[in-house]
Symmetry: C2
Subunit: 458 residues, 2 copies
């Protein structure tokens, strides 16, 4: 039918066989269907698992092995699919495969967020593929789009809802006016949150993905530890309700953006006055990469992304606004993304080439304190004359200008809800500290960034 | 920086220099930026235009030529970008380029919708790329996603809003309760509709795109003439208002779907009882490809796609639901898609390979008459006793079952609004004919398919 089908099948070694691995084995079982659709023949050569005694539905027992290193080294394995997760032994096995000149497909965001740069250069040296579509947003083809479709594009900003668990929790809190803790318990009950939910709710998972997204979007090497993150555990139903009253929804966002507005100027023309430029070389792009909850205008395409769905909104100099939406997790959707990569790797292998290399450049990370946006700040106060004046003075003293204020409740329940004009994050932080030491301030409750059109990036 | 940058630039020959061409020339002028982002050097070798005397902003006059054939044949041109549009001379030039072993990037949906299959086989024979991301939905990376990310996926259905002009018109009709003709005039005034709007409003443009989408999604060869189409010129504000009252929005949809539900069965296991199967060979997939306005549930992700934006909703056996959203037209967004393809073609050229081949298989097209969905039908009637009984009898006689009926208005303005259960399109057509000959029926007004969850595909 095509060149691929005339050749012998490409041998696939699978490391790990959880949800995604089992779904992939099931997809690979339809080898004639895959060949008809892609022109490429794949053959599962072996599946490395920790416990070979446990039966796995649909996995021929003779393919199971407990020796992952031997599987990677086996002559029958031409492409390695790593679905073990975590740093070890995944890193060792992926490195061994790349060193042996075998392309690797992985869904391991932790591994890529931590060792992505060194693995990429290992793959580069070996001239083989390291593909990881499934690591960022499940079935959503973001990696391919950033790497290939937007290869020549000046990406301005990528804003993603990349964690289904937290989006499910925030959607439920909004729909049912439920507390965070109650919704989390329900999500755990439904299997949508882990027993230890930290990685999701504190933004670690999203931060690893943000690092991968930023590295692709800006052709640089950013690791997860460099990504400042805030989770969703401090968000209260009343903050969500107030956001809705103001025309916003609350979402946990992974953001990667250019903040130097280089793209608005002539190509290559450095202005020479700013910090972001080397005196000698070409200008070094300045970017911000971060994870935090934010209030998003209801009209924003991401605002409609509900439940466990993921979506990524891309803004580019030429392409304009673009959004990719789909299943961010789950065995079958993730296996679908792995299969797409696997077919790419197999095709490249047979053609004796590898995926387009993404050049790596230096970027400067703008510190969180220097970022600017509008803020929502809810403060529980003593309900007596002069309180607003005292609080407003603190805002003013720190250079944070107030766009709107509303008092909600009376007496012990009195609460001041502020929305600021665009302000420097560092100034907002010192304002919050100073407010905390006022004796009329009983508690600083919700603190949320306001994202969207009014946000100024610099 | 990477392998690409060590090599000489890839010479690009541009055919046509309208909006998209001019935007592409502007992008290519930032050659150092493109190299930094993609690792690939591109050099504009020449621009073929009909009128070389006309100045074009940003295009060096010495690059202009009136001889497109000579440009295609020139040794300086290694990749050809065809942005002339239409069938001739675009077809001749694209064929000449492919025959000369030069990859072609085109945004020409008419050419691909008409001669896509023969051009693809020409490219295949020459072992070079024929890439056309910009032909389907502007900057939205649908072609790449269908061809590569979903290479192994069983696509069930692709539903697209792929024509910005008609989506703008429908959005305005809905927002402002304006008549079709008035909105069209405004769209023409704004430059969002052509002076002769036929290609857009009668669905020709969408049908060409539907043919390309179906050919990619089902790995087959479907031409635009095989795609049944209905446009939007008969839609009235009252139909839109009624749809909204029922919880729907009206959109012009390009649909490509499997209708045989083969994917629900074991791979390779033909049931032997149905028509769609050859007695001898493997089952031939049965698909439906069409363009028509439809009522879409307000909760559907496509329902939120407003104005001139495009979006494509993909449903696959493994990937689940996925949506791609973005700018479907415009010089810069379309040029961004062309540049992505151009970098791919350049990379493949230097690597001595070509894009993954999409195998071509046979499919059966299910005739429109045999499709099944629910229908909205608005009938102007004489307001007298017995009318509903007469009308309902006609529905029943033709096997079309009524889900709901509402009378709107009185006397001369009396109108019956029906929503049917899922019914065969052929039966609905004969019902409409029979209704037309009833003397109590004054006019059959809006007739719209109801898309969404309740739709049965077979």
């Amino acid at each position: 039918m095509t060149r691929g089908s005339l050749e012998r099948p490409v041998g696939v070694g699978l490391l790990g066989c959880g949800n995604v691995g089992a779904a992939l084995v099931q997809l690979l079982a339809d080898d004639s269907g895959i060949e008809a659709r892609s022109g490429m023949r794949l053959r599962l050569a072996g599946v490395a698992v920790a416990d070979t005694a446990r039966q796995r539905q649909g996995v021929p027992p003779e393919l199971l092995t407990g020796d992952a290193d031997a599987l990677v080294a086996s002559d029958d394995v031409e492409v390695v699919v790593e679905l073990i997760g975590g740093l070890d032994p995944a890193r060792r096995l992926v490195e061994a495969a790349l060193r042996a000149g075998k392309p690797v497909v992985t869904a391991n965001k932790e591994l890529l967020g931590t060792h992505g740069a060194s693995l990429a250069s290992l793959a580069d040296d070996a001239g083989v593929d390291l593909l990881y579509e499934a690591a960022v947003a499940g079935a959503i083809p973001l990696v391919r789009v950033l790497r290939e479709s937007l290869a020549g594009e000046q990406v301005r900003r990528v804003t993603g809802i990349v964690n289904g668990t937290t989006n499910f929790i925030l959607t439920m809190m909004s729909d049912r006016k439920m507390d965070y803790a109650d919704v989390l318990a329900e999500a755990q009950h439904l299997g949508l949150a882990e027993r230890d939910p930290t990685a999701d709710v504190e933004g670690h998972d999203a931060a690893a993905k943000a690092a991968i997204i930023a590295s692709l979007a800006f052709r640089c090497d950013i690791g997860a530890p460099q990504v400042p993150r805030e989770g969703i555990s401090a968000i209260r139903p009343l903050d969500i309700a107030f956001a809705e009253q103001l025309g916003y929804v609350v979402k946990l966002l992974a953001v990667a953006e250019r903040v130097d507005h280089l793209d608005r100027r002539e190509p290559g023309r450095a202005n020479g006055t700013g910090d972001p430029f080397d005196a000698s070389g070409p200008p070094v792009p300045e970017v911000s990469v971060r994870v935090h909850p934010a209030m998003l205008p209801r009209s924003h395409p991401l605002a409609a992304v509900r439940g466990a769905f993921n979506a990524v909104f891309v803004e580019g100099e030429s392409c304009g606004e673009m959004m990719l939406y789909g299943r961010g997790a789950g065995g079958k959707p993730t296996a679908s993304a792995v299969l797409g990569d696997l077919l790419d790797a197999a095709h490249h292998l047979r053609a004796g080439t590898s995926a387009t290399l993404v050049p790596r450049a230096s970027v400067r990370l703008r510190p969180a304190a220097d970022l600017r946006c509008a803020w929502y700040i809810a403060i529980d106060v003593a309900d007596r004359p002069g309180v607003l004046a005292a609080v407003a003075t603190v805002f003013g003293d720190h250079g944070v200008s107030i766009r709107s204020m509303e008092q909600v409740g009376l007496g012990d329940e009195a609460r001041l809800i502020f929305v600021t004009h665009v302000a420097r994050e560092g100034d907002v932080r010192t304002t919050l500290e100073a407010l905390g030491s006022l004796d009329v301030v009983e508690n600083i409750g919700g603190v949320l960034r306001v994202a969207g059109d009014d946000e100024e990036a610099s």
